[in-house]
């Protein structure tokens, strides 16, 4: 298992061309033993007018920047800039979230409250500044990561990582001359001078093998994996917009205004002639009772119907017509007294005529459609018939036992 892994990694090295060197020269390297030696060597190389050279030390040697005449680094300005961006974005974020987008009253404080925003603003300032400083130091200033630089994997690099101090003059320097440089290094007292070549596969040192099947496949697998994790997280854990299962949709509240319609209202009127559910209009509305035809009482005569009719009659009809429908109003003459329901006319009426009067109203009696449902009206009619028969009983109605 481990052997196999080792083989894979060794092969990866070969694919990158990191095991063989080409003939092309990168530069000449010299090693020195003490920090005093390297600092005077660096000063001399700088004095001789070389431009493309570099000093490699296992730790930062003080005074080397002056000896190499390096300009002071401008990293600090970037730190300040990104720190300021952190401050502003924290304040903007808090203002947008609680001062603008969704205002919540918390302890009666202002929506966008400066003092409690300070801790988060401070933390984000530090966060932005720190991430920017390190990533810009590596990427922008030092042009890293770069794992296939010609100096990597050399004996020279091994020594300057550990206990020696080295200087390299590159072949691309305009004053580059092999013999002159070797003489200079010898004169400066270098103990070890070596030539460093480019890697075989990667002479220009700028190309990386991006278009290879392994790379594309690897990226594809990564893409699928990241997509699945992202999908699950956003959909089932965080319910982040827009992955919220359409729980949040644009809509108009009742009675709210809208610029979408010409009349500025959010609500629409129904199409003309629309009949609302359970509100079937009455056919003979406003007509005299003589025209009413073809309506029959749909209810059977039984105790439950009669009782319903009785209770509704006592509630709605009895205040004017009296408990026994004799027209003896309890309203003490505040309204004209209604007729008795025991007249010849009413007794001879069909059920449909009484129904019409309850539904439509008659003379000063209003319509009772709002108060009494259809079935209740028919039940009341049955009860009226009971009253009529009770008040006008014949001898035959008396049951003898």
């Amino acid at each position: 298992m481990i052997k196999k892994l080792k083989q894979i990694f060794d092969k990866a090295d070969k694919d990158l061309g990191l095991d063989n060197r080409s003939e092309k020269l990168y530069g000449i390297a010299a090693l020195f033993d003490t920090p005093d030696d390297i600092i005077s060597a660096a000063a001399d190389v700088q004095f001789e007018g070389y431009e493309k050279y570099d000093v490699h030390t296992p730790y930062p040697v003080h005074g080397m920047d002056d000896a190499m005449k390096l300009k002071p680094t401008r990293l600090g300005f970037f730190t300040f800039f990104f720190g300021a961006i952190g401050t502003l974005s924290a304040l903007l974020m808090i203002w947008y979230m609680v001062g603008f987008d969704y205002k919540n009253i918390i302890g009666g404080k202002p929506f966008f409250n400066i003092p409690p925003s300070m801790p988060i603003t401070f933390e984000l300032t530090v966060l932005f500044a720190a991430i920017a400083t390190i990533s810009l130091m590596l990427i922008l200033f030092n042009k890293l990561p770069k794992v296939n630089h010609p100096l990597i994997d050399t004996e020279y690099m091994k020594r300057v990582s550990s206990d020696r101090f080295g200087i390299v003059i590159q072949q691309s320097d305009p004053k580059f001359n092999k013999d002159e440089i070797v003489n200079l290094f010898k004169k400066l007292g270098s103990s070890d001078i070596s030539y460093i070549n480019y890697f075989e596969k990667d002479e220009s040192n700028t190309k990386a093998p991006i278009i290879s099947i392994k790379f594309i496949l690897g990226n594809f697998v990564l893409f699928i994996g990241v997509s699945i994790i992202t999908y699950l997280t956003l959909n089932y854990l965080l319910f982040i917009t827009p992955f919220d299962w359409m729980n949040k949709q644009p809509r108009l509240m009742p009675q709210s205004s809208s610029t979408f319609f010409k009349d500025g209202r959010g609500m629409r009127n129904p199409v003309e002639g629309t009949v609302a559910k359970n509100f079937i209009p009455y056919e003979y509305q406003g007509m005299p009772d003589s025209l009413v035809k073809n309506m029959a009482n749909p209810l059977p005569v039984n105790d439950s119907v009669i009782n319903t009719g009785k209770s509704k009659f006592n509630i709605y009809c009895s205040p004017c017509h009296g408990y026994f429908a004799k027209g003896d109003s309890r309203l003490r003459g505040q309204f004209p007294n209604p007729p008795s329901l025991h007249t010849e006319k009413v007794r001879k009426w069909q059920d449909e005529n009484i129904y019409h009067v309850i539904t439509n109203g008659q003379n000063s009696m209003p319509s009772y459609t709002k108060q009494i449902t259809k079935d209740e009206r028919w039940a009341i009619i049955h009860y009226i018939r009971v009253l009529q028969r009770a008040q006008n009983a014949n001898d035959t109605d008396i049951e003898t036992k």
């Binding site: 296992p58 730790y59 040697v61 005074g63 002056d66 801790p119 990582s161």
Partner: protein, 466 residues
């Protein structure tokens, strides 16, 4: 940037003058050799503890946080105690790497990397507790402001939210600082190693660092800036943790002394933990001449100073409780010292204030066994400090009818044990896999590591005169 040679002469940072190569060999030894028997014993103990914690966490997730002892009126129990304890431990690392760096305390180099690693692992351990405390840790994303389907945002007036930002920022920045410091050492490891697998990972982790002075220039600046940024950060983090308590209106919590008191306590407990671990590590990995007795003595001095600060804070809390004339406040503090949890209070006082006073004596500061006992007592005392603050303030508040007592369950204790297991497992893995001492910084402060002063001046005039 001049170098003061008298400083190192007076007090050698690396005793037994060693060549750079030998330093490399000693410090990289754990990464380049097979683990020793001692290491296996240590990791099996810490791994077992971590597993016990994992099992207790599993029970907690399955049955819910009813498995723990906290309930009305003590709603914050071991979970928050452990959180504050571990986050406090995390403060020593950044203090050593950032604040002592700014004060040019060169003795920090031997222990800085190690303390930073401890910071990272302590913050990771601490981070577990708020997550499990909320009951459904997989929904931890709700803590951050993100556009969710309810459209409502988090409460920016709440110290608990500040805590989320403070702890995550602290973790990220400490991690970057630590990682950046390791780049040159990992590059050194990359150059040394012969194994293909190791080389592959070290190459990636070193970003192809090649010790170029043109890189060192920016690197040193970045390190200085990061130290400057981390210094207020480390102070802010425990300040904000203390706001979790101080912004509430509970007697015993609602005090303005909390931020400085918590920061001092955090540094105190952090140094206690660093010292505990270093005493063991220098023995196990034969680094006694790099992490010297002088280092430990200096740490003892810091322990003495911060321990006294914490003692001052304890006294001042009592004074203010009396001076404020607030009966609720006075009751809480009398209850703390003489109530049912008086044993915890007096453990705290003796471990944090009384015993560290022994560090006034040089003999004790330079005696490893006594030091070991004292720093372990500091750890115990600082854990009890958080216990006292949280439990005694909550268990008897304004309404005597709802007073109660708090006792942890077996699962609470298991999770506490597991947190130690996780922390020490990570430490052991770190020492095994990564350069646990910053070689670049250590080499830079050894004798004759920097050019002599006259030459420094000479090279300048030499180049300027032409």
């Amino acid at each position: 940037m001049s170098f003061d040679p008298t400083y190192t002469k007076e007090l050698p940072l690396v005793t037994e003058r060693a060549s750079f190569k030998e330093l490399d060999d000693v410090i990289f030894k754990p990464t380049e050799t097979k683990p020793t028997k001692k290491w296996f014993i240590a990791i099996s103990i810490s791994g077992t503890a971590a597993l016990i914690g994992a099992i207790c966490l599993g029970y907690t997730f399955y049955y819910g946080i009813g498995m723990w002892g906290n309930n009305v009126p003590v709603g914050w129990g071991f979970d928050i105690i452990n959180f504050v304890f571990w986050i406090g431990i995390g403060h020593a690392g950044t203090l050593i790497s950032a604040i002592l760096y700014l004060f040019r305390q060169k003795w920090r180099t031997g222990i800085a990397r190690f303390a930073e690693a401890m910071t990272i692992f302590a913050v990771m351990t601490a981070g577990i507790f708020p997550l499990i405390h909320v009951g459904r840790p997989w929904l931890a994303g709700y803590l951050f402001p993100y556009p969710n389907q309810n459209s409502v945002w988090v409460n920016f007036n709440s110290p608990l939210l500040w805590d989320v930002f403070a702890v995550s920022t602290y973790f990220v920045v400490s991690f970057l600082f630590w990682g950046m410091g390791m780049i040159p050492d990992i590059a050194n490891l990359r150059s040394r190693t012969k194994s293909g697998v190791k080389k592959f990972f070290y190459t990636i982790l070193s970003f192809g660092w090649r010790n170029s002075n043109r890189h060192w220039q920016h690197y040193e600046k970045a390190y200085l800036i990061l130290a400057g940024l981390s210094t207020p950060l480390v102070l802010s983090v425990h300040t904000i943790v203390s706001f979790d308590f101080a912004v509430s209106v509970l007697p015993g919590w609602h005090t303005t002394i909390f931020p400085p008191y918590f920061v001092a306590g955090a540094i105190f407990s952090g140094f206690g933990m660093v010292a505990t671990v270093l005493i063991i590590v220098r023995k196990v990995f034969d680094m006694e001449h790099i992490i010297t007795l002088n280092h430990l003595e200096k740490m003892c001095k810091i322990l003495l100073a911060t321990g006294s600060m914490v003692g001052y804070a304890y006294a001042m809390e009592f004074f203010i409780a009396w001076y404020s004339g607030n009966p609720a406040e006075q009751f809480v503090f009398i209850n703390r010292a003489f109530g049912p949890y008086a044993w915890a209070y007096w453990i705290m006082i003796s471990c944090n204030v009384i015993f560290p006073q022994l560090f006034w004596f040089k003999k004790i500061r330079r005696s490893i066994p006594i030091m070991m006992i004292l720093v372990i007592l500091v750890n115990v005392g600082m854990w009890f400090e958080r216990f006292v603050i949280i439990v005694t303030s909550l268990h008897r508040d304004f309404l005597p009818s709802s007073w109660g007592m708090y006792a942890p369950t077996l699962y609470d204790l298991g999770i506490l044990l597991g947190s130690f297991g996780m922390f020490f497992t990570l430490i052991l893995l770190f020492v095994k896999l990564m350069p646990s001492i910053s070689l670049t910084e250590l080499k830079a402060v050894t004798e004759n590591a920097q050019p002599s002063e006259h030459l420094h001046v000479h090279s300048k005039t030499h180049t300027h005169s032409n």
